[in-house]
């Protein structure tokens, strides 16, 4: 067919001709190939496009979300005139916003109280975007003082909770406000499921008369400014830092408006893309199976071509070309369905997202999904195509039913290694986080290897077993025979199932932590902003309520870590797990003695009468994350004053328990003179919570009571929503596994028909044959389920116990439910498809002519 020494290109040209002719024919089994790719590529495209759309929405709304071109935020103290003047220079407009938490109640009802997220705005607010209210009215008119009463605007649910309508009056601190409108849209607010209360907006002029802002109160002052088009943020920020090196503020531009939301969306998107990638890997097994089935059908053609002189290389090129043509088609359909799916999804859930998403076409998720689709198809098709290339024509003729054991050559192995490396590289590119990518790759490899060896072990067991009942023996024979469905089904369905079990158990553990464990350990209330002058009266008021216990109160003020061992935090090497501590201000306290029940792991507590240079007691976890220990220093900016303190001791703190504790405790002396308030916690039975809240806030209008149970319930609700999204994606991997299963059943259909015909001839009833097939699927489903559940449970343990460092509970009911459901589906699917076999007439298969 080809002359000796033909070049690669010459062979390729002929291979293309053969491929084109071959593709004209019937492509049995390639439906599964296409479906697997469409599902996997579609899932990655859909999730990627969805998260990109939300991030694009965040970017588009950046200035609105920030409230200006730049935003400066300061805790606990207002901006000085100097600072204000510097920011005002060259600015086009300026706006002041003050936010804090406060308690509010209807003016004439002392029993209905709500914690609110209070926001006081000036007349310039908002600098960007538009505020929408119902009834619609200009904001300054809604907030102005009329007939001696200031106005306020609030979220609809505050009206509901207080039983008020527009025009109703509320008491906030020492002042009375008229609720004039419901807030419909607030341009600089990201929907946040973890906010502690509804929004209440008032004028900055009115804030003063509430008397809520007192020395040491937890207040966030924001100064927003807009500048002309020539404005350059980086040099501006540098100038600001040079002029006010110790201001201790948080400075952002529009690109960094809501970094935590952005980070959350990126992480969730990444997690879902990993599950999408698992869907594709599951589908890869289907791809391999479909290609093997396709090549088995073409065995005689390949043998004929080889007899006619086609070299192995040409056979490889031609059949790989056919596979890749189908892969391109499947990938394109996957991209299309994923993009359409994401548009439909965004249209459906757009209202639930933190910002309106930008619905559009995004290149990155599309090219990544396409590259994954094509690489996975190539990787999984490589082995069967190389096997077809490696075997001799004689073998092909002889082994039309049972594949030979011919192994692909070294070149194919090398190629396989190269594409796997490429796939891993692509995972790193897609993840943008090397640690997560490495975890995912390691997890996938270990899981696939575990599934493969478990399947091999299961097949070996099936081969050894010699049960007395014939139908069980026949079912077992079908599990280990050459070309049996055991390996592809265990790998694909097993991987999908393992992901689903892992996700179910992880989310179940998280939910359990929030809804069961934390409420058991956490206090019922946090009270904030207790003034030093109020502490005695406050202590009496809340501890006097029957049933309360565990009351603790500590002084508190806020400060920002600015340097670690003299190195500014921006330049210091900080472990990812400890980065949270240098983002924004932290609560600090000071104490002569160690907190009750504290676990000092290194160093010693200072003497009660210590009066030397600043010392701190530090959370041991943070110290590890910062790479410091006893004797090293931390510099903290407290109320615009830099204090460098030496670490005297380290304490072990379990933050997940919501224990009342502080990461940084100063020795007495260093914070003297700084205004502070107190924070207190108390336990109370559920039925006494209202009474505690009343006692804590009636006589102390500036004190806010945070109900921990409600906050946890809100968090649990948010987690539930995320859980469903994650489980939905994991469900796709099961769907992909079922497609592979149906493909495996279809490819074994001819063999099953043959078996059933022979058994019929030998006197087996239809019921007996059906029972045999059912037993085969029951065994395969059971083995896959048990293996996958074990792997899923192990993965969940690793994530929960090692990564999240939480108590892991196996939650076997979740695992058993998932396994039983899959088992049922497997048996039903297998049995339904083989029922058709039993209904067939034997004669066409038995005649000789």
């Amino acid at each position: 067919m080809t002359k000796a020494g033909a070049t690669w290109l010459e062979d390729f040209k002929v291979a293309m001709i053969i491929a084109r002719r071959e593709l004209r024919g019937r492509k049995r089994g390639l439906g599964v190939f296409l479906l697997c790719l469409i599902l996997g590529v579609g899932a990655i495209t859909g999730v990627g496009t969805l998260s990109r759309s939300v991030i694009a929405g965040l970017d588009l709304e950046g200035s609105s979300l920030l409230g200006g071109d730049v935003s400066l935020r300061l805790h606990s103290r207002p901006f000085t005139e100097d600072e204000r003047d510097w920011v005002t220079r060259d600015s086009l407009s300026l706006s002041d916003v003050v936010t804090l938490r406060a308690m509010v109640r209807p003016e004439d009802d002392r029993d209905r109280r709500r914690l609110v997220e209070l926001k006081a705005v000036d007349g310039a607010y908002p600098l960007y975007g538009r505020i929408e209210t119902s009834p619609a009215d200009p904001l300054h008119r809604l907030l102005e003082k009329r007939d001696g009463v200031w106005g306020a605007v609030a979220d609809a649910n505050l009206f509901d909770r207080l039983g008020l309508k527009p025009g109703g009056r509320i008491r906030l601190g020492d002042a009375v406000f008229e609720l004039r409108a419901e807030m419909v849209r607030e341009p600089d607010r990201v929907a946040n499921a973890l906010s502690l209360g509804p929004r209440l907006m008032i004028s900055t002029d009115a804030l003063e008369i509430t008397n809520l802002v007192r020395p040491g109160s937890r207040v966030l002052y924001s100064l927003r400014a807009t500048y002309g088009p020539e404005f350059q943020f980086t040099p501006w920020k540098g100038g600001l830092r040079d002029r006010f090196p110790s201001a201790g503020w948080d400075v952002r531009n529009a690109g960094e408006a809501v970094p935590s939301v952005r980070r959350f969306i990126e992480r969730l998107g990444l997690f879902l893309i990993f599950i999408g990638l698992t869907v594709l890997l599951v589908g890869g097994v289907g791809v391999a199976n479909a290609v093997e089935c396709y090549l088995e059908e073409r065995a005689r053609t390949i043998a004929t071509l080889k007899c006619l002189g086609a070299p192995g290389r040409m056979i490889f090129q031609s059949y790989m070309l056919q596979v890749m043509v189908m892969a391109v088609l499947g990938t394109l359909l996957g991209l299309l369905s994923g993009t359409l799916g994401s548009v439909l999804g965004l249209t459906a859930i757009g209202g639930l997202l933190p910002v309106p998403p930008v619905i559009g076409f995004f290149w990155k998720p599309v090219w990544i999904a396409a590259a994954f689709g094509l690489l996975v198809a190539f990787t999984f098709a490589l082995w069967p195509v190389a096997k077809a290339q490696a075997i001799s024509p004689a073998q092909l003729f002889r082994d039309s039913i049972a594949p030979s054991g011919a192994a692909p050559g070294r070149r194919a192995l090398g190629m396989g290694f190269a594409v796997v490396i490429l796939l891993c590289g692509l995972v790193f590119v897609a993840a943008e986080d090397n640690r997560f990518a490495a975890w995912f790759i390691a997890g996938s490899v270990v899981s696939l290897a575990a599934l493969r060896y478990a399947a091999l072990g299961f097949m070996a067991l099936a081969a050894r077993a010699r049960p007395t009942r014939a139908w069980i023996r026949l079912a077992l024979a079908n599990l280990h025979r050459p070309g049996s469905a055991t390996m592809p089904v265990t790998l694909s369905l097993g991987l999908g199932l393992a992901v689903l079990v892992a996700v179910s158990v992880i989310s179940g553990n998280l939910s359990r932590q929030i809804t069961e464990r934390l409420p058991e350990q956490a206090p019922a209330f946090f009270f904030i902003d207790i003034q030093p002058a109020q502490v005695e009266a406050f202590d009496r008021a809340v501890t006097g309520i029957e049933g309360t216990s565990g009351y603790r109160r500590e002084p508190s003020l806020r400060g920002r870590i600015t340097a670690i061992n003299g190195v500014p935090v921006g330049e210091a090497t900080i472990n990812q797990d400890s980065e949270w501590a240098v983002h924004g201000d932290r609560a600090l306290t000071f104490s002569a003695g160690p907190p009750v029940g504290s676990d000092i792991t290194e160093g010693r507590w200072w003497p009660r009468d210590y009066a030397g240079p600043p010392l701190i007691s530090l959370d041991a976890g943070l110290a590890g994350g910062f790479g410091i220990t006893i004797g090293d220093t931390l510099t903290l900016n407290v109320l615009s004053r830099d204090i460098t303190a030496r670490v005297a001791n380290l304490r072990e703190i379990d933050w997940r328990s919501l224990r009342f504790d502080f990461a940084i405790i100063f020795a007495p002396g260093a914070l003297d003179g700084a205004p502070f308030t107190h924070i207190a916690v108390i336990n109370a039975p559920r039925g006494m919570e209202d009474a505690v809240e009343r006692a804590a806030t009636s006589g102390f209008p500036n004190i806010s009571a945070i109900r921990v149970r409600e906050t946890l319930e809100t968090a649990a609700r948010m987690l539930d929503g995320i859980n469903w999204a994650v489980r939905g994606m994991a469900g796709l991997s099961i769907l992909s596994g079922l497609i592979v299963l149906s493909g495996a059943i279809a490819s074994g259909q001819r063999r099953r028909i043959y078996d059933s015909v022979v058994f019929k001839v030998l006197g087996a009833s239809r019921r007996r044959i059906a029972g045999m097939f059912a037993a085969e699927f029951l065994l395969i489903g059971l083995a896959t389920g048990v293996i996958a559940a074990a792997i899923g449970l192990m993965v969940s343990w690793a994530v929960v116990a090692l990564l999240m460092r939480m108590a892991w509970v196996p939650l076997l009911s979740e695992a058993v439910f998932t396994v039983v459901l899959t088992l049922l589906v497997t048996v039903l699917l297998g049995w339904f498809s083989t029922w058709k076999v039993l209904a067939g007439r034997p004669m066409p298969y038995l005649r000789n002519d």
Binding site: I401, A402, A470, R473, L474, A477, N478, R481, Y754, D755, V757, V758, F759, K760, V761, L762, G763, A764, S765, R766, R767, R768, R841, P842, M843, L846, R847, N848, D849
Partner: protein, 237 residues
Amino acid sequence: MKNNTVSDRLISLKQIQLQLHSDSGPVEILRGIDLDVERGETICVVGPSGSGKTSLLMVIAGLEPATGGSLSCAGHDLGALGEDQLARYRCDHVGIVFQEFHLVPTMTALENVAIPLEFSSRGDAFARAEQELLSVGLDHRLAHYPGQLSGGEQQRVALARAFVTRPDILLADEPTGSLDQATGHKVLDLLFELKERNGTTLIMVTHSSELAERCGRQVRLVDGLIVGDDAGDLLND
């Protein structure tokens, strides 16, 4: 044979018709077959391709229901039997040998032979299967899979499988069609030996005139009708 009583009649076909449906409409495969077979007879069915030879075997085996006429085999009215009863009938009374052997590739020779006994829930299935393989000279191949056996060996396994239940009727469809001449002769010798030893009634489809001559009675089929039956003619007389 002429003096046989009605009680020795093992198979009785009266006006058997078989109509199948194809894409181009119904096809008459058997168009009124009358055939009586005595216990112990050896019959060969000959005729051109497409004359209905294999279909006739299928009808007698209960694998293909006749669309007309009545059919009694080994005391059973096959038309009145349901799916499970037909399976039981095959298990108890019929053995079949094919040109393509039709062994189960995932089972060893021993398992292939034991399987019909296992369908009958015989406790000594493996012992008897081993005995049967010994009788066809394959006791050294018990644990081999069909793919590991030669064509002649596979057909001998198929013979052992067909005879292991001691059937009343053995149906053979071109049993040597896939074998070379020498092997074919050996297999046929074995087939006739087993038949004689077990007193089985043999109905065999063949194209081979030499083989046909070894049978006591020749039935000739053309276009779904019996056009020649040497012993049948005698019986009718």
